[in-house]
């Protein structure tokens, strides 16, 4: 085991997979000699060369589009989009090409590739360095959408995604890149399965569902609740598409009270999908309406970002709402 940050776990996963498989190549803006603006690829160009750690011109549609071509030919590209807020020029390549390739070719072609991109707020980044775009991608059949919350999961999930045969949007919660540290297995065969949620904390009274950096906010909220004698279970979904329905339903059935927390804007967000699944399939167990604690339906603000982003106290307010609900 080694102690590392989320960011170091990204680098370790990339380095191990590149050492294991010559077909794994990285491409993106400033990822070579500069090691990426967050340093996620630091040292990799030196070790693996310019042919496998490719500095690209500044065009997200080109980064993803050429990576699609490389994947079609048989490589395993791992493109980096510098901030997920800049991914939209590549949206057509992601949605029309990468996601549909296997289906539209009757399984003749596929795009085994992982788009890594830092996402989420909390770094004073304003509109264009803070957003949480997971719902756009979760609405696209053919994509896998993964969001790790711990260093261990970051390494294990990223490695699984690189080895997998489906195209992945791998959202890295940049707010916790350096602030969350943890023990990570050194075994290069250590993998975390895609499509499986994790119980970040057990509890019998209330289920709180979250992903990414929000898992840590919810764990803080759970501590606040504990002081009031409320035992909160925090489910870290880890994979947004496909969702681990069984994990969501089994916790919801146990507690009967559900809060879903996310940074993204509320309307048509992933929290709504989680709520709908639980409402459709576990309504008979629910003792209160499902509560969503989310970013507001406004563009992401700069000065007031701490107001915009759900805090432990806002999650706690949601917990109290479901606990105190009376039919």
């Amino acid at each position: 085991m080694s102690t590392m940050t989320v960011l170091q776990a990204v680098t370790a996963a990339l380095e191990e997979e590149m050492a294991r498989d010559d077909d794994v190549v990285l491409l993106g803006e400033d990822i070579g000699i500069n090691g990426g603006v967050f340093r996620a690829t630091d040292g990799l160009a030196k070790r693996f060369g310019d042919d496998r750690v490719i500095d690209t011109p500044l065009a997200e549609s080109g980064i993803v589009g050429t990576a699609v071509g490389m994947a079609l030919y048989g490589l395993r590209p791992v493109p980096e989009i510098q901030f997920s807020d800049f991914i939209f020029p590549a949206f057509d390549q992601i949605v029309s090409e990468m996601a549909k390739m296997r289906y539209r070719s009757g399984g003749e072609f596929a795009c085994p590739m992982v788009i890594r991109t830092p996402y989420g707020g909390g770094i004073r980044g304003g509109h264009y360095h803070s957003q949480s775009p997971e719902a756009y991608f979760a609405h696209t059949p053919g994509l896998v959408v993964v969001v790790p919350a711990t260093p261990e999961d970051t390494k294990g999930l990223l490695k699984s995604c690189i080895r997998g045969d489906d195209p992945v949007i791998f959202l890295e919660p940049k707010r916790i890149y350096r602030t969350v540290k943890g023990e990570v297995p050194d075994d290069p065969e250590f993998l975390v399965p895609v499509g499986k949620a994790r119980t970040a904390r057990g509890g019998d009274d209330v289920t709180v569902v979250a992903w990414g950096a929000m898992v840590h906010t919810c764990l803080e909220a759970a501590q606040l609740a504990e002081k009031q004698g409320i035992e909160v279970e925090v489910i870290d979904v880890r994979t947004i598409l496909p969702l681990d329905e069984e994990a969501l339903l089994s916790s919801a059935r146990k507690t009967g009270k559900v809060v879903v927390a996310m940074e993204a804007t509320r309307t048509c967000g992933v929290a709504s999908e989680v709520s709908a699944i639980i409402a459709e399939k576990a309504i008979d167990s629910l003792q209160a309406p499902i509560v969503r604690i989310t970013g507001y339906d406004t563009p992401f603000p700069y000065t007031l970002e701490h107001v915009y982003m759900p805090s432990a106290h806002r999650v706690m307010a949601g917990i109290k709402k479901v606990v105190e609900f009376d039919f």
Partner: protein, 369 residues
């Protein structure tokens, strides 16, 4: 190279220049046969569409020389990233008309399992990518494929086809810019048929030619008479050799004319004069090549007629066979979304199975085709 039209064949089939490509008689006859078969396929498929037997079609009338001539300059191991208007490339690479029509009928034998509109082919065994409808997206894939070939040191090249319309799409800029920066072994083959549906070339660009856009990307550009199959072959051969030698990409502009509609849903009489079509009909690339083959005594009139009749019979027969095949199974709707079916899709498949025959009758009634 970007302003003067490269041409080998005169309108009467005479070889104008000394730089006639060194093609064997066998290759010359192959070029002709593929062009004729493609024309016959397009004609048959348009007829099927007009009769309501297939839902849609995109003909390539008049552009046969541009794509058949260029595709012949590649090796079988080279990849092709095409748009939806180069059907003869598949025929040249050994795909049968029946396989292509299976796609147009969307039947159980369709490689794409009936999931795409007609003419959106995928031919893995021929190293030809799956086709999509958004314009120009395949250009940037070609750069990626070519770069992957370079990374692996396979010695292959990738050629991508797109139209004049595609040169306005952002992926044209991106694909050429990346390939120029990386020196990828890529050939960008623009078949300039002068119309993006109803928008004529002069309203698509301020450039004098499409070939001259190459200068901005640090690669050579060549303006080629796209109705001259020998010029097309020769220009492509040089571009392929250049890419294979590690000297990077080339932009080829094959100047041609879309003799038919954009698609079976389009009516060109709404936006372009009939005289223009009549003028270009005189420049029909197949007739022009046949004049050459006759002059060279490779074929006589009777043999040419026989080749056309044979191609028409082939397409008619292939259509009959394809049309009789059943539709894909309903369960296949859920396959190939992912490598392995995730639980939520398995649940939805069960949901559909449980809906029974009423829903299927509704669905059949909604699409009489």
């Amino acid at each position: 190279m970007t302003e003067q039209l490269l041409s080998v064949l005169g309108a009467d089939g005479a070889v104008k220049r000394k730089n006639r490509p060194s093609l064997t008689d066998e290759d010359l006859l192959l070029l002709h046969r593929i062009m004729v078969r493609t024309r016959a396929l397009d004609e048959r498929a348009m007829l099927l569409q007009r009769q309501g037997r297939i839902g849609f079609y995109v003909p390539s009338f008049g552009e046969e020389a541009a794509y058949v001539g260029s595709a012949l300059a590649l090796d079988g191991n080279d990849w092709i990233s095409q748009s939806y208007r180069q059907p003869g490339v598949a025929l040249l690479r050994g795909i049968t008309a029946e396989t292509m029509l299976d796609n147009c009928f969307g039947n159980a034998d369709d490689i794409a399992k009936g999931r795409q509109m007609p003419v959106h082919y995928s031919f893995r065994k021929a190293n030809m990518l799956s086709i999509s409808s958004p314009i120009g997206t395949q250009i940037v894939h070609a750069t990626g494929i070519a770069q992957a070939m370079k990374i692996r040191g396979d010695g292959g090249v990738c050629l991508t086809y797109f139209g004049d319309g595609g040169t306005s799409a952002n992926d044209f800029h991106t694909g050429l810019n990346f390939a120029g920066a990386w020196k990828s072994p890529c050939i960008f083959a623009c078949i300039n048929n002068q119309w993006a549906i109803s928008c004529p070339l002069e309203r698509q660009t301020g450039s004098k030619t499409i070939a001259e856009k190459s200068a901005a990307y640090g690669m050579p550009g060549v303006l080629v008479d796209g109705n001259d199959v020998l010029a097309v072959y020769e220009a492509t051969r040089k571009a392929v050799a250049r890419a294979r030698d590690g000297d990077g990409p080339t932009l080829l502009e094959f100047l041609s004319f879309r003799m038919g509609p954009h698609s079976s849903s389009d009516d060109p009489s709404r936006y372009r004069p009939g005289e223009l079509e009549a003028e270009w009909k005189k420049k029909d690339p197949i007739k022009r090549f046949e004049a050459f083959l006759t002059k060279e005594s490779l074929l006589d009139k009777e043999q040419i007629e026989a080749i056309h009749a044979e191609a028409e019979a082939e397409m008619s027969e292939a259509a009959k066979v394809s049309e009789k095949k059943p539709a894909p199974t309903i369960d296949s709707l859920f396959d190939d979304v992912y490598a392995d079916m995730p639980p939520h899709l398995a649940d939805q498949r069960e949901e559909l199975r449980g809906e029974g025959s009423d829903h299927r009758q509704d669905a059949d009634a909604a699409f009489p085709l």
